[in-house]
Amino acid sequence: MADLESFRAWVADASATLTDQAEHLTDLDRAIGDGDHGTNMARGFAACAALDPEAGYNGIDAYLKMVGMTLVSTVGGASGPLYGTFFLRLAGPLAAADEVGVHQVGQALRAGVEGVVARGKAQLGDKTMYDALAPALEAFDEASRDGQDLASCLEAAALAAAAGRDATEPLVARKGRASYLGERSAGHIDPGASSATLLIEAAARTLV
């Protein structure tokens, strides 16, 4: 079961990881975008990690909404609204819960990923963060149906996200800034798929 502390640990871990990987993400974005993805994500998650724990959000859902709003207002670019929406939507299925288990996290993840699609209209294979998030959700659900615990489900999700991220390499982008490159976008891993994988990996380390 994951409680508010777990979710706060997730965000803290994500912030540390993204700061650590900022240069790598920016390099990926320099190749097929505009070279700011690492800076954007590190700035946004640092702001989330700095949210005052006493600042009156009672419960997981309020906290996740706060994280979502913070991302929306600090990340900018394409990823700000997308990850912002992801966290805002995560909150829905977790309303009023103090502790959540596999089932609820699965529902939250689905809501979050659907939010990304609703906002960004990406389809599988468009070479976006969705190409990491979609397989992660699927793997989580499958592990959950197999009766595995939250940690195992998230580990399965993280592995699937990483595979999805790697599979973006040969793709020709159809969404986001990389799509301007046409054929020349092939041969590079998508920065958003990479940051999405880092986020799920952080969840697997913390939401337990």
Binding site: T26, R30, G33, D34, G35, D36, T39, N40, V72, S73, T74, V75, G76, G77, A78, S79, G80, P81, L82, G84, T85, R119, G120, A173, R174, K175, G176, R177, S179, Y180, L181, G182, R184
Partner: protein, 337 residues
């Protein structure tokens, strides 16, 4: 990286402070939301025209705030779209009761952030309802158009659109007419750019892309996005021919038509060279039987210190020319006042 700045993280805030200091008579700067606004506040009964995007393209957009053009510009980090909170604040600060038109360049980040802002305003949680419309500019023919992708980037046409629609708003056209006019300007204009050098985003500290000593990038985007092809450097007349023919054919310009022509510097190219390009562009258009009704030559949509230029052609008609000629008083574009 050699640049005139202090901490790269502060460059946008400090530049806005500089704008406030330099233009106190015309502009007001909201440093908290990073907005540039008209000094006079909202104009009652006038549609407010609000734009914004990443910084680093100056004078776009902040330099186009003022009478006859924008009511506000939302300034994001360098090459990063503004966040919804900025757009919401700009929308609320400029609404004069006749609604607000958002002018958005076609980049996912800009689209999504303006869209979220529109949802927040529509939700009405933070204030009274505001009538909203938005136009998306997507004039860069370097990018292949397709319904499967996000489509083309918004570049040079944005300036002409802000000028023309700004004039219509000043004449108190209602929101739906301003919106339809904006869509029309976007449909009638196309652009293409080329770069001789990359630019360096202050926070990144090194060039966005690499170009060999004998190479240029054809079809480059204003954030240093790679273009159609990296090709050997060519004389101005060949560069102009590439740009003009791409734009002209995409626009389907025919003999006898006339255009507003913008020969735009990306930031690092001397005006002397831009006029050499203007000479070639005019020559090519004359050769194709296309008249140039109005001409702008200079740095209007830049990409920091990138060397290179873009050509924008906007099919002219009487209405557009009349609105284009109307008075404008902004730091970046001024006439008639």
């Amino acid at each position: 990286m050699k640049k005139l700045l202090n901490d790269p993280a502060d460059v946008v805030a400090e530049a806005l402070a500089g704008m406030a200091a330099a233009h106190p008579d015309r502009l007001r700067v909201d440093l908290e939301h990073r907005l540039v606004l008209r000094a006079g506040g909202p104009v009652r009964g006038k549609v407010a025209v609000v734009s914004g995007g990443g910084s680093g393209h100056e004078p776009l957009h902040a330099g186009y705030v003022g009478l006859g053009m924008l009511d506000a510009a939302c300034c994001g980090e360098v090459f990063t779209s503004p966040v919804p909170g900025q757009v919401v604040a700009a929308t609320r600060a400029t609404d004069g009761g006749a609604g607000v038109l958002h002018v958005v360049k076609n980049y996912t980040g800009d689209l999504l952030n303006f869209e979220m802002a529109a949802e927040i305003v529509a939700a009405g949680v933070d204030g009274p309802p505001v009538e909203l419309a938005h136009v998306v500019t997507d004039d860069d023919v370097a990018v292949e158009d397709s319904t499967w992708t996000i489509g083309r980037r918004g570049v040079g046409v944005t300036v002409l659109l802000e000028k023309i629609v700004g004039a219509a708003a000043e004449e108190r056209w209602p929101l739906d007419r301003c919106h339809a006019l904006a869509e029309r300007v976007n449909r009638q204009g196309r652009s293409m750019a080329m770069a001789l050098t990359s630019c360096t985003v202050p926070a990144a500290g090194r060039p966005t892309f690499e170009l060999g000593e004998d190479e240029m990038e054809l079809g480059v985007g204003i954030h240093g996005e790679a273009g159609r092809a990296t090709v050997p450097v060519a004389p101005a007349r060949e560069v102009a021919a590439s740009l003009v023919s791409a734009v002209r054919s995409d626009l389907g310009l025919r003999r006898g038509e006339s255009v507003l022509a913008l020969v735009n510097g990306l930031g690092g190219t001397p005006l002397l060279e831009l006029y050499v390009m203007a000479h070639e562009v005019h020559r090519l258009l004359a050769g194709a039987g296309v008249g140039v009704a109005r001409s702008l030559v200079g740095n209007y949509v830049t990409s920091l210190e990138m060397a290179g230029c873009s050509v924008t052609l906007l099919r002219a008609d009487e209405e557009l020319l009349r609105l284009y000629d109307a008075p404008v008083n902004t730091p970046g574009l001024r006439w008639g006042v």
